[in-house]
């Protein structure tokens, strides 16, 4: 079976260029919306999933999920600090542990409505735990002072967040002394200050929100191996009860990581495990540990209402566009009745005619899809904010149009073309030859 040359279709699209462009635009716009929604999702989840180091671990109160909900009684923090698997700062030889507090503050967007911004109070070690966060202006807040540093994205978009401004928080005003850049990570939507001062000013001196530690390199892997080999006593396994029930992969791994630290301490030093075990267990059992990456990734589960509405819209636009493609293709078939008859007469099979028209409509749609994907580049990099509905705090993100989004967009357009072209192509193929030849 011989196919009708592709050139035939392309030439036709070119000859009817006004119609081609119009139909392509009709496809391009839904595609652009589709791409923009994907880019939004992408940017949002990137902000959450790209935050994180496998060796940084956060301890929260069990089933609190986020720092804003969690509280770890201050007396329990030393239990974590005493874990042997924790990396030490080579300069001070202190364990890299940051006791942190998270507070939400309702702030006004510049020229807009209000939202909750997360304020993170941290120990001086906190910055060692996030080496990718860079100060770009001013200085870091000092311990014991009511100073804060603001992420650049927040500083640009919210009132009272420029250097020298005063932020009303708790019973005092806080001075903005620095601006930092945290790239596209979740930290890029925060305000940082000193944990102890923030806790005092907000009457939260009984508990921390979370405790962050840096594990020694390789420690987590060792813990995992120990766990898999069954070397860890059953009593310690209790710590993982909650994770076992849900048996979700990333969660499991992070809890294992935490066990890794406990287990090494016990196995290397049997004496310690005997004397300290009961206390150790009861306190750690009330906590949950995640690697930094898993912690932020979990927050994407909630999804964004914006994305919901976006998908709904893209589907309806696609339906409208599919009808438009059908219309154009029916017109193409109708106006080329004689041509098709001639093609059939010189020996092309029905199937070839049908395939040829479906291909033509797909080319048309792919063209539209490509325009749409290119159009969506206009939103690429636009930075905006919405609320992370897991923590209820503002999260800044940038639309991310990448190759995957654009290819998906073009495919989305192409699919419209296949569906839109199917019925007209069927009609073209079924046309009686003699009648079509006779028609003017």
């Amino acid at each position: 079976m011989l196919g009708i040359p592709l050139k035939y279709n392309i030439r036709h699209l070119y000859v009817r260029w006004v119609g081609t462009v119009m139909t392509a635009l009709g496809i391009a716009l839904p595609t652009a919306v589709f791409c923009a929604v994907m880019a939004l999702n992408n940017g949002l989840s990137k902000a959450l999933t790209e935050t994180g180091d496998e060796n940084t671990i956060v301890f929260l109160r069990k089933s609190s999920m986020t720092e804003t909900n969690s509280s770890i009684v201050r007396a329990d923090a030393p239990v974590i600090e005493a874990l042997p698997g924790i990396e030490r700062d080579p300069k001070t030889s202190r364990a890299i542990v940051s006791k942190e507090i998270m507070i939400l503050l309702n702030l006004n967007r510049i020229g807009g409505t209000a939202s909750n911004v997360a304020i993170r109070g941290m120990s001086p070690e906190g910055r060692l735990l996030r080496p990718n966060v860079k100060l770009i202006e001013g200085e870091w807040p000092r311990e014991g002072l009511t100073d804060v540093a603001v992420a650049r994205n927040i500083s640009e978009r919210f009132e009272h967040c420029k250097i020298g401004d005063r932020l009303p928080l708790g019973k005092r005003d806080w001075r903005v002394v620095g601006i930092f850049d945290a790239g596209t990570t979740a930290y890029g939507s925060e305000i940082w200050g000193d944990a102890e001062t923030l806790a005092g000013a907000n009457l939260r001196t009984d508990a921390w929100s979370s405790v962050w530690v840096r594990a020694k390199p390789g420690e987590l892997k060792r813990g995992e191996e120990l766990y898999n080999s069954g070397a860890i006593p059953k009593s310690i396994m209790n710590v993982t009860e909650a994770a076992d029930e849900k048996s979700k992969e990333p969660e499991m791994k992070s809890v294992l990581a935490a066990i890794g630290m406990i287990a090494t301490s016990r196995i290397s030093d049997a004496g310690l495990s005997l004397t300290l075990a009961p206390k150790f267990d009861s306190q750690l059992k009330s906590m949950e540990a995640f690697t930094e990456r898993d912690y932020f990734r979990k927050q994407t589960d909630m999804g964004s209402p914006i994305a919901y509405i976006g998908q709904f819209i893209a589907i309806f636009m696609a339906i409208g566009a599919a009808f438009a493609v059908m219309n154009t293709m029916y017109a193409a078939v109708a106006s080329r009745g004689r041509e098709i008859a001639v093609l059939r007469a010189i020996g092309f099979k029905r199937r070839s005619v049908m395939i040829s028209f479906v291909i033509e409509s797909t080319i048309l749609a792919l063209f539209g899809g490509a325009i749409g994907a290119l159009l969506s580049l206009f939103v690429n990099g636009i930075s905006t904010g919405t609320t992370n509905f897991a923590t209820f705090s503002e999260i800044t993100f940038a639309f991310q149009v990448n190759a995957q989004v654009m290819i998906s967009g073009a495919i989305f357009g192409g699919i419209l073309g296949v569906f839109g072209g199917l019925f007209p192509a069927w009609r073209a193929a079924r046309q009686p030859i003699t009648q079509a030849m006779r028609a003017i």
Partner: protein, 390 residues
Amino acid sequence: MLGLIPYIRNNLLRNRRRTILTLLSIAASVFLVVVLEAILRHLDDMPHVDGSERRLVVRRNTNFKDSMPQTYNNKIRNVKGVKGTAAIILYWGIYKELRAEYFFGKMAIDADTLAENYPETRVVDPVTGAPRPELTDEFIKDRRGASAGRGLYQKYGWKLGDRITFQGIGFPDVEVTLRSCYDGQERSSFYFHRDYLDELMGRAGQVTFFNIICNTIEDCPLVAARIDAEFANSDAPTVTETERAFQAQWVSMLGNVRVLLRSIALACAFAMVCVAANTLAMSARERAHEIAIMKTLGFTPGALLILLLIEVAVLCGLASAAGAGAAKLLFQFEGPWTDIGNGFLLGFRVPAWLALAAVPFGVFVGWCAALPPFLRVTTAPIAPALRRIV
């Protein structure tokens, strides 16, 4: 002129398939434009609950999650102009699993204050919707009882007496029994006993916000000022705002949705112009021959243009009416689609005026698309048009 109606009708019916496809694609665009516009109006105008004008919400000055002492209740009750107060703990917990579709507002409240503060709600049977005032007492009597909006009953297929468990997020887990059901414009919140939650938490006396009902609407601003003044110098200063403003915060948290939705609506309208322009250009091209004949018969270009524009108006008007009507109808009924905003578009309806306004809008857009090709055809010289073979 009236005699030309059959001409218009026949033209529209000449290529039925094309007319229907054009109609459908325009209808889809109008549907979207109407829904998006309605969403924007809805967001601007939250909440849509009658009776909420008299209500105020007292929250902490920092954010809506921080708590304050329950002892504020007595002080607030004594503020001049206050009719009733309800101390509420906003409870965070997971129903079934952490997915947006299982999310709804859960509040621990003093059961007896519910009726006083929300006089516009009716206690009803969850299945039939018939009034059943005795359920209120059953809820009050059962310390582990709960009352939920009828919307939740329908969404999750609950029945009275069902046990509902929440896995607490920063709160203890809660297991309560459904004892009552309320209906009103707001019908998707979940209430249970505050003293029961206090007991589970092992610490009493902290609440997330107070819902206040004032004697009159005029009292509200003064009451708000008085309450905030009362606690200004305490450890936990307050912000008192209208229930409307409090609700609007949730929307403002979404960020710049307006710009996003508006630009998509624009894209839809533009896509619609492209589609219409293309189809109309096709039909104009096909008709060049007969239009030339009509001009030979004495029709002026102006008259022909008017005829064609009337045809377009009928087509686009019908399509818009179909799209807008579908939008209006769809959101008139409860269903999975009513939740497109995922809890953010409570009681979302397409206003009738908006659906009606969509018809002239559609006609206008159609005309914009039709004018260039039709102008060209009607003003083209007769002889070449007659000579051309389609």
